[in-house]
Amino acid sequence: MRTSAVARILAGCVVPLLMWCASGAPASGQAQTGGAIRVATNAEPTTFDWMSSTATATRLVAWHVFEGLFAIDQQYEVRPLLAQGYTVSEDGLRYTIKLRAGLKFHNGQPVTADDVIASLARWGKLSGGGQETFKYVKGMRAVDPGTVEIALSAPFTPLITSLGDPKQSAIIVPKAIAERAGLKPLEELVGTGPYIFKKWTPGQEIVLARNPAYASRTENWGGITGRKVAYADEIHFFPVTDPQVRLAGVSTGQYDLALELPPDLYAKVTANRRLTADIVKVFSWTGVVFNKAHGPFTDVRLRQAVLYAMKNADLMAAAAGPKAFWQLDPGLFFPEQHDVYSRAGADVYDHQNLDKARSLLREAGYKGQKIVVMSTKDYTWNNNTAQVLVPEMQAAGFIVDSQVYDWPTLLSRRTKPEMFDIFLTGFSPSIDPTGVIFFGKTWPGWYKSEALDQALAQWGRTPVTALEARRKIMDQIQTVFYTEVPVAKVGNQFGLEVYNDHLHGYTGYFDVRFWNTWVTH
């Protein structure tokens, strides 16, 4: 009796209060226009030209401003963006790409086939993927102002995938701007995206403003294409190098989202009810890159010996900390990338066998030459991995000279074959085997393989619709990867982004995007 009276009183007070709250409080589920999204980033872009740079810091700002003909969706499949669609001639040598109607650049100028041709020509010279693709491109012509035709010298089915690759993307800019920039990074930042480049105060902030004339697609494809609504008036990117400060800022509401926090801070994040942790699983994989142009690792048996010397779980625990932030997986691609993912090589990957490693060393006639392993402390995970790799290699019988440099020095030294034997790096997601960076013959490591060339050529001839055939070729490519070991894969490393309850509609992806996202400050 007493309990029910108390319950009635409570219900009388609490229910109206809850109803008032529900009616008065902003409904976070309902999109709101206005305000500014404030993002604490870990690095400042060195350029905003997404075609020039492969850097994440460039991409995550630039893809709000620039767009390509095609782009990847939430499932990492390539779909049209500025393109309405495309057709391929029966012989696979002629691609006709139609532009969507009503597309305009931020300067008000309409997007035409001439802009597309000038932009793609620049991409073909500037970007790694573009250079690879343009080996097959015989010519481009404007069929009409809204249609481009690309003629190939030989079938190259990854053409559309390559055009939608988010690394050094084939962004479309006005013809005059593309020609003025040439091979230098773009200085005039005029794109077609949902946000316009407004201001950059070096060391302080980058400001993007909503593009009121943005012509959005209507499909809910997610990723970098489909429907994009710019709810926020502005996006502010603040370069905050210290991760503790990024976390403190997002905790107090000074920032809405903090990028790339170290896994050590995960417990702090989960302890705060206002914060949401987004563990990014398609993020990066850690690799041990061998110098295949000079020194001991020109011998494949020594590369295989390192593979058998590695205990991947220990390496990943050192690199990424808690188990929630890494995964042992043999794939060149991530399990979420269904079309290209393969488990070929699983019988070799993460199979530490020191006896086998030692026997490979003997077979190769290794005479105790010093192995130079380069790592950097600029990225904690990088040097941490080296700290475990070096004793593992020593246990197998290698004599190792561990050298630690700042990142720009490492970048420079790795271009000189006589300077190193191994360096450690992280590989951000690729979307097609032709875009795997270390398959490039001029990328540091200098991998040359007839078996791989044949497999990639076969991949390039196989129609994108022949799923089973492509799966087999992908297995073949990955088998070559585990036989020739140009790079010893360590494991998949996850990222940690954190946002607070001011940010709504946010969906995780391999890098952050802020269209279809709104704030309630």
Binding site: E44, T46, T47, S52, S53, T54, A55, T56, T58, K125, L126, S127, G128, Q131, K167, Q168, G182, L183, K184, P185, E187, T201, P202, G203, Q204, F238, P239, V240, T241, D242, Q244, V245, A248, G249, S251, T252, Q254, D378, Y405, D406, W407, P408, T409, L411, S412, R413, T415, T425, G426, F427, S428, I437, G440, T442, W443, P444
Partner: protein
Amino acid sequence: MARYAAGRVLALVPVLAVVGVTVFLLIHLIPGDPASVILGSDASQAQVAQLRTALGLDRPLYVQFVFWFEHVLRGDLGSSIFLRQPVTRAIWDHLGPTASLTALAEALALAVAVPSGILAAWKRNTRFDQGFMMLVLLGVSIPSFWTGLNLIALFAVAVRLFPVAGYVSPLAGVGPWLASLILPAVALGFTQAGLVARMARDATIDVLAEDYIRTARSKGVREPRVLARHAFRNALIPTMTVVGTSLANLLSGAVVVETVFVLPGIGNLIVQSISRRDYPVIEGVVLFVALVYVVVNLGVDLLYAALDPRITY
């Protein structure tokens, strides 16, 4: 005095020339180049070579040096590879936050350190003096980034009095500007206060043992007056030396504090430029900092004469 000052200013020229040449050679001799940084880690060797040519970095070092030196002689420090602006403009844009930060840090340090140093000398060997010496030791021992992170945790996260990081221009309001600088200034000034306070205490102890202090006391001059009128001014000269030299050191402390608190000052500019190998900015900023060092030291030397009539030039 004018002749002395003119001589010191003239001596600046060879100093800056040596600094300029050394920095140019050192920065170009260490590995790493802007093209690799711009293109990112996935760029191929061919792409890096292509951009190096486009940026003119493939020219022989002596050609680059002659080109740079000629322009420096004309007052042109070149243009930043990344910031898309002249180096002089970049320095000017980043000067405001650093000047504000160092001025505030120095003011806070002096306001706390000088009176407490004199007081500790006066209360020599008491509990106050012992406590003071412990604080001073903490001040000079604790790195400013650690102080900064703790100040953020305490005054920006636990008690939300100040922003976590970032800089607000004084044009946007004096209140927000000060709020954005208080925590970094305290972090930076803590070390400075330790140095100054110790010197103020030691100098005051020495002065308090002088005959003229004993004479003043024997004439019945009250203790506050002895301290303020007789001891303070004489203790100020060695203290000023520390203030002068450490004011220039504040600039190096600002490098760390500006990075922690995301202040777009000269320190942040140099750190970013080194990690990007933005050669023209590194060369320009180092020349500028060398100039500040020399000018501050000259200013301190001239100030001695103003403070102590016994010193003449």
